[in-house]
């Protein structure tokens, strides 16, 4: 249905709500890449097949990921008058059993992870009222989600829809207040007001550099140019993270809405989303979402009769890490080789095709509808004074339960590892951790109490970055770790800057010599000197920070490295 008035959104919302909590049964399968990798596709098919075959009054829907990656495939069941039940991991062999339970209104106890008596955080369904306020016996064995650390300690704002709505149905997005923000912005706010709200919110870029988004937008709005662009950086070259992919696979409309608002605010009528070519599922869902937004009249010309027009184009990229650097990304979008450009001029002054351009990260953009809807002040209250809002954190390495969670900024690293990761899972203690992806510093366990906060982490020699959290346990050899990270840079440097290209190679060699027992104190001095030259002279953050992992290992674990040096007389 194509709408051209803001008020018509409510019609679609109604359709969406009917889909989300139908009079019959809704069965969802977490089908982001993380789930698919664990067999969600088969589970989905089996469910669909059986539902049809057994003529069960139910709809089976593929949804995205809710962060419980360790328990995939995840299946959720929503039935009228009953709490939503989250199951996982659901192997395909157990589909029959699950369906039987659904038909009979029962619960498969050993698969159930949580029941949702109340959906305030997510689905707009009135809280359940059990008869006489007593939980029926069939459900009492399943922990209510609010009593579980995994749910309780998260603050799902950006990711509230992920894993609940179908990424392929704009109605479901709209049902959960999707596009309400855009409608509000277009009908009630001037572009300057939007920028003001974003500025007041103190939102900072989630892509790595943590630049204040309001400032960036203002710079672009003030820059002279007949055309302007919004670019969504969906590159995600960080290894082992995949949370942008997961987001695109779970809630693509949120990014579209965020971009349209950004476009209105800075005066851009076109946007580009750059996505790694290997993200097949994400690309498919994103393209479908754009099509639906266009068909609904939420993208295209004269959106909601406001006179504002905005179009989106998806660009596929090769997926090299450095292509995530914003100026390299712009080159890639223009079909040039993906090497960073000299800055200044900054993209906000001269970006895509030489026009003022806002480059924002996926998560940054996904925050925009929230700020537009609830106001900058509301947002600024979440998190810490200088790091407002929430952050999606991807847990990997030595943790019992890898996956992603959304927490308010200011949450301590320790809490995240313990509450969501459930410890190292190896019985060993945490030895070190790294935040911010490959360029972050490796910090020792003594700093575990550090808070997720742009400034604190930077001060400690690491960074918040895009939100990776890699945990190392006592069994980890720190030099191995340094080598692993340095090798990553050697693979990923674009090779343009002399100091980055040569420097990373030399770092590798020095680590190798230390590992082989030929390392000397002189080598360590050399590393420091070279790291300084790299951070002083390299063009982009890759080169500037490529030595950080090794330097931080040297700083925090000096004995471990020095113990491997060539001993005098040996």
């Amino acid at each position: 249905m194509k709408i051209n008035r803001a008020s018509d959104l409510s019609k679609i919302k109604k359709q969406g709500l009917e889909l989300l909590s139908p009079a019959t049964t809704r069965i969802t399968v977490g089908s982001a890449t993380c789930g698919l990798a664990k067999g969600a596709g088969k589970v989905l098919e089996a469910l669909k097949y059986e539902v049809k075959k057994q003529k069960i009054q139910a709809e089976v829907v593929a949804v995205g990921c809710n962060g419980l990656c360790y328990a995939e495939p995840i299946v959720e069941v929503i039935q009228p008058g009953k709490p939503r039940i989250t199951y996982g991991p659901v192997a395909v062999e157990r589909v029959g059993e699950l369906l039987k339970a659904i038909k009979t209104g029962k619960v498969v106890q050993d698969l159930a992870l949580a029941r949702h008596d109340e959906e305030a955080y997510c689905l707009n369904i009135a809280p359940l009222k059990y008869a006489k306020g007593k939980v029926p016996a069939a459900l009492s064995g399943i922990k209510e989600y609010r009593k579980q650390d995994f749910f309780k300690n998260q603050l799902k704002l950006v990711s509230k829809n992920a894993g609940t709505i179908s990424p392929s149905r704009i109605e479901e997005y709209i049902a959960l207040d999707g596009y309400k923000a855009l409608a509000k912005v277009l009908t009630e706010m001037k572009p300057e007001d939007v920028i003001k709200e974003v500025t007041v919110s103190k939102l900072r870029g989630r892509g790595g550099a943590g630049f204040p988004t309001g400032l960036k937008w203002q710079a672009c709005r003030s820059a002279a140019g007949d055309k302007k662009y919004i670019v969504c950086n969906g590159s995600e070259g960080d290894p082992e993270i995949g949370m942008h992919r997961s987001f695109l696979e779970s809630d693509p409309q949120a990014i579209i809405e965020g971009m349209a608002i950004a476009g209105y605010a800075v005066g851009a009528e076109a946007g580009y989303i750059y996505v790694n070519d290997r993200y097949v599922v994400a690309l498919e869902r994103l393209e479908e979402a754009i099509k639906q937004a266009e068909q609904t009249g939420l993208l295209g010309s004269n959106i909601l009769g406001s006179g504002f027009s905005f179009s989106l184009t998806v660009k596929r990229g090769g997926g090299a890490y450095v292509c995530g650097e914003e100026t390299a990304l712009l080159n890639a979008l223009e079909g040039l080789s993906g090497e960073p450009r000299p800055r200044p001029p900054y993209p906000a002054q001269q970006g895509l095709f030489g026009k003022p351009t806002v480059v924002n990260n996926i998560e940054t953009l996904a925050n925009i509808p929230l700020i537009a809807l609830h106001g900058g002040k509301w947002f600024a209250k979440i998190g810490t004074a200088s790091s407002t809002g929430t952050k999606i954190v991807a847990l990997s390495g030595a943790v019992a339960q890898p996956g992603w969670v959304e927490v308010p900024l200011g949450t301590s690293v320790k809490a995240i590892i313990e509450t969501f990761g459930k410890g190292t899972g190896t019985g060993k203690k945490v030895k070190a951790f790294q935040t911010g992806g490959p360029s972050g510093g490796v910090l020792p366990a003594s700093l575990l109490n550090i808070k997720l906060d742009y400034d604190q982490l930077t001060k400690a020699g690491s960074l918040l970055g895009s939100g990776g959290l890699l945990v190392m346990d006592e069994g980890t050899d720190m030099l191995d770790m340094a080598k692993f990270l340095t090798d990553f840079f050697a693979e990923e440097t674009c090779g343009k800057c002399s100091t980055c290209r040569e420097g990373v190679k030399r770092l590798q060699e020095i680590i190798d010599s230390i590992m082989q027992g030929y390392g000397t104190k002189e080598h360590l001095n050399l590393v420091k000197r070279m790291a300084a030259a790299m951070s002083d002279t390299a063009a982009c953050a890759l080169g500037k920070t490529a030595a950080v992992p090794f330097l931080s290992v040297l700083k925090h674990f000096p004995k471990e490295v020095e113990g491997k040096l060539l001993r005098k007389g040996a």
Partner: protein, 872 residues
């Protein structure tokens, strides 16, 4: 304007300047390895880092950071020096350090900076890079072991030359520069990459092991090939030229060169140079003394003059003579012999830029600020490559829009927004069609037309017939494409129309120039830098030869011979009467020789038997001459027919000036002593005059130029005392501001009808396009072995479809015949050649394309047959 502080100095610089440029302006040198003012900043080497107070805590590359108001910059500090030293150390780890046998030694930036920063020890160790060296590419040697990955070769080839032969391949530490699949070079061989390479990774093969950079003496002079007039430096060692470099200060070329300028100088030192005078004795040319030879010349000329009058004598000179020599030559003919029968190959074209064009020439540098180009009958990238570079920069870097009209899909067509593949020889109809469309659609610049031109109504009337459908029929260009091109052209604010002239582009020059001028004027493209018509003469002094009056109807200036006061002024200065009757043109001279009315011919550097159309006819005509004197560097086919051959000095062996296509008078400086017994053309003319009993004055070029300056108003301000390497631009700014002396330009009317191309005949189904290739210019370049190593021989360019129809494959031998002559030639199948037409470059002695052409016809029609084995 921006004010900033660099190293405590207040610096004022223009908006958009980088810190590096601002520093240079203040005389502060910052080291660079990947920066060049001709290229877009790249920021790869990181040696140019500086500290900016406002960007605390980090260093910033000065080459790519714009200077901003109030910036406080430090260009050296302990931190900066340390960083630079580390950069150098890193670059030197795998570098072979084979400086003793590297040809860049002494002018290598890596070597210089290593020295400057005292990097005497490297704390990093690794094995030296060991890539194979490319010895297979002609002219340029590639040793990537020495490469510092500055990317300048890649960028200059792409941004300036437009050939995009190089690219950076691989990533990270394995990054290297490469050609497609790493094959040997197959490009324009301009050597710009080799020249810009800051290290010895790309070097000039001709210079290999010839000299250390500090041993050479550099002499600044001007390229002897085309009328771009690139300023060059000849490096000398032990009395030999060891290389040619572009002069960075050169206003025409800003240091750039094409293959001819960089690698074509060798003919100067060729063993085939004639070093002694030759006099025909008993039918054979025999070495003689200068006295004997001059005596023979004087006798030969005098005899004809006495028997048949001065009108039976004629002179043809080369458009490569210096201004001073061209001046003396025509003075010799006019004042000593008493005839106006003087012309040069530029004469075939000179009407284009003398009588046809009412607009002053454009300055090359201003082309870079144009936003529209119309390139018509001009393969400028090949005939005047360095002018082509300017078009590349404007189009590829600055977004100018380009319209190319050419029957062949020439290089520029690749970058063009509009490409019009018209039928050969229909340029005039096309130009008029564009003007017609602009006027009927009301796209003209009314204000300009009203204020600055006259005759718009007459023009409109004369253009009536050039409707899109009429033009479509004449040119083969679809009406809608014509209209699109017209709109594109008219929508610009600064448009240049580029046309080439010369032996490679026969005919129609005056009409073509006039129509082009019409088009420029109606769109207001005159009187501002970069806007107007650029008419490019073929050779180094095509323009100067006309200015010097080495043409039948003009006296030096050029001033019209027909005007009494003009003639009188010269008569007074020269002390000799000047005939009022204009002399004979090249074609008329040859026709005259054939008919017997021309009996004596003086060819000074001109080689009609190789360069002029219809070789057979020319040969017969010359055979009938009573006396032929040829003054030459080589024993050309023309010289071989001479009665006396006078050996002349080459461009590198003399002083003088050339005037290039933008009207810039530039100084040649003698680099070598004249080879053998050769003398400069100037000296020879004066000696011939003396032998004839007359005094031409001094042959000292400075003195001759002083005489020219006193007689030719445009050259008034030219003086050897003040000529710098930038030369002297003739028409001054006021001249360029106001076309037409009286403020409102005279609008040239259009008396031109469509010259319908001959209908294809059954016997000769193809149109033959005779022209120039990138690699050669005139016939001289065929004497340079370096150039011949990449383009040794003329080949017939033919469209794949035509080739298929004739069962011709690449490198097949084919016979090409016209009504005039026939030749056999190797075929080259090439898609850029339009169907129905074939192309042969004319430079070569054999097969000589001009054997097929006829001076009487603009279009040469030919038939092509495959030579079968049996007929060989």
């Amino acid at each position: 304007m921006i004010r900033l502080t660099i190293d405590n100095k207040e610096v004022v610089t223009e908006d958009g300047a980088t810190i590096l440029e601002a520093a240079a302006r203040a005389g502060i040198r910052i080291p660079t390895l990947c920066y060049h003012e001709k290229l877009q900043p790249f920021g790869a080497c990181r040696i140019c880092v500086v500290e900016v107070e406002q960007m605390k805590g980090r260093l910033t590359p000065s080459c790519s950071t714009p200077a901003t108001e109030g910036m406080v910059v430090r260009t050296s500090s302990e931190q900066i020096i340390k960083a630079r030293k580390t950069v150098l150390e890193l670059l030197l780890i795998q570098h072979p350090l084979d400086c003793p046998w590297c040809d860049k030694g002494g002018e290598c930036q890596l070597q210089n900076l290593t020295y400057e920063y005292g990097v005497s020890r490297n704390r990093f160790k690794d094995k030296k890079s060991d890539h194979p060296v490319d010895y297979l590419s002609p002219l340029v040697e590639r040793n990537t072991n020495r490469c510092v990955l500055c990317g300048m070769c890649v960028r200059v080839c792409d941004e300036v030359v437009g050939a995009s032969e190089w690219s950076m391949v691989n990533r990270g530490i394995s990054t290297k520069i490469a050609t497609d699949f790493d094959r040997p070079l197959n490009c324009e061989f301009c050597g710009e990459c080799e020249n810009i390479c800051p290290v010895g990774a790309l070097t000039n093969r001709m210079f290999k092991f010839k000299a250390r950079a500090w041993e050479v003496e550099n002499v600044s002079t001007v390229c002897s090939f085309c009328s771009t007039g690139c300023a060059i430096k000849l490096s000398l060692k032990d009395g030999r030229i060891v290389r040619a470099l572009g002069e960075e200060e050169g206003a025409a070329n800003q240091g750039s060169l094409c293959i001819k300028g960089r690698f074509g100088y060798e003919y100067v030192m060729s063993g085939e140079r004639i070093s002694r005078p030759l006099v025909r004795k008993n039918g054979t040319l025999t070495p003689a003394t200068w006295e004997e030879a001059l005596q023979a010349v004087a006798e030969g000329l005098k005899a004809v003059k006495e028997q048949a009058g001065p009108g039976a004598v004629a002179g043809l000179c080369s458009a490569r003579l210096t201004n001073e020599e061209a001046y003396l030559f025509q003075k010799l003919l006019r004042a000593v012999i008493g005839t106006n029968n003087v012309d040069n190959s530029g004469g075939y074209a000179h009407r284009g830029y003398s009588s046809g064009l009412s607009l002053p020439p454009l300055e090359f540098k201003d082309l870079q600020s144009c936003d529209r180009f119309l390139v018509i009958r001009s393969n400028v990238s090949e005939t005047h490559p360095v002018v082509g570079y300017r078009v590349n920069v404007a189009v590829k870097q600055k977004g100018a829009q380009l319209i190319v009209a050419d029957p062949r899909r020439i290089k520029l067509a690749r970058f063009a927004q509009t490409y019009l593949a018209h039928k050969p020889g229909t340029e005039i109809a096309l130009l008029n069609g564009l003007a017609h469309t602009i006027l009927t659609e009301g796209l003209e610049n009314r204000e300009f037309v009203a204020a600055r031109t006259e005759g718009i109504e007459e023009l409109k009337k004369s253009l009536v017939q050039f409707t899109p459908s009429f033009v479509e029929q004449a040119t083969g260009i679809a009406g809608k494409d014509l209209v699109e091109a017209a709109r594109r052209f008219a929508s610009g604010t600064r448009a240049a129309i580029i046309i080439s002239a010369g032996m490679g582009f026969p005919g129609d020059d005056a009409a073509l120039a006039r129509c082009a001028a019409n088009l420029a004027l109606i769109t207001g493209n005159a009187g501002k830098p970069g806007a107007g018509v650029l008419f490019l003469g073929e050779k180094s002094n095509s323009h100067g030869s006309v200015d010097m009056g080495a043409v039948p109807d003009l006296l030096p200036g050029p001033q019209e011979l027909a005007k009494d006061p003009v003639r009188q002024a010269f008569a007074k200065a020269w002390g000799a009467a000047i005939a009022a009757e204009p002399g004979l043109t090249c074609e008329q001279i040859i026709a005259g020789a054939e008919q017997g009315s021309i009996k004596a011919l003086y060819c000074a550097g001109e080689n009609p038997l190789q360069a002029y159309p219809d070789t057979k006819k020319t040969k017969t005509a010359f055979g009938k001459l009573q006396f032929l004197v040829v003054q030459e560097l080589f024993l050309t086919p023309t010289a071989q027919m001479a009665h006396v051959v006078l050996p002349a000095a080459s461009f590198a062996e003399k002083d003088g000036t050339y005037t290039n296509a933008e009207g810039r008078v530039q100084r040649l400086h003698q680099a070598l002593p004249p080879c053998g017994e050769t003398k400069t053309d100037a000296e020879i003319f004066c000696r011939v005059a003396k032998a004839l009993g007359k005094d031409l004055g001094s042959w000292n070029p400075a003195a001759v130029m002083a005489e020219i300056a006193s007689l030719a108003p445009r050259y008034h301000a030219v003086s050897y005392a003040t000529l710098t390497v930038k030369g002297h631009l003739l028409s001054d700014a006021a001249d360029r501001e106001a076309p037409g002396a009286e403020g409102a330009a005279r609008f040239s009317l259009l008396p031109v009808d469509v010259i319908a191309p001959e209908a294809p005949s059954a016997e000769f189904p193809f149109t033959l396009l005779i022209g120039s290739t990138l690699f050669h210019c005139g016939t001289l370049s065929t004497r340079s072995s370096a150039i011949c190593s990449v383009y040794p021989q003329a080949r017939l360019e033919i469209n794949p479809g035509d080739a298929r129809a004739l069962d011709i494959r690449d490198n097949d031998t084919v016979q090409v015949s016209s009504a005039t002559g026939a030749l056999t030639i190797t075929a080259k199948i090439i898609a850029r050649q339009s169907p129905g037409a074939v192309f042969i470059p004319y430079h070569f002695l054999s097969p000589a394309a001009q054997e097929l052409a006829s001076a009487a016809q603009l279009q040469t029609r030919v038939k092509i047959e495959k030579r079968t084995e049996t007929s060989l």
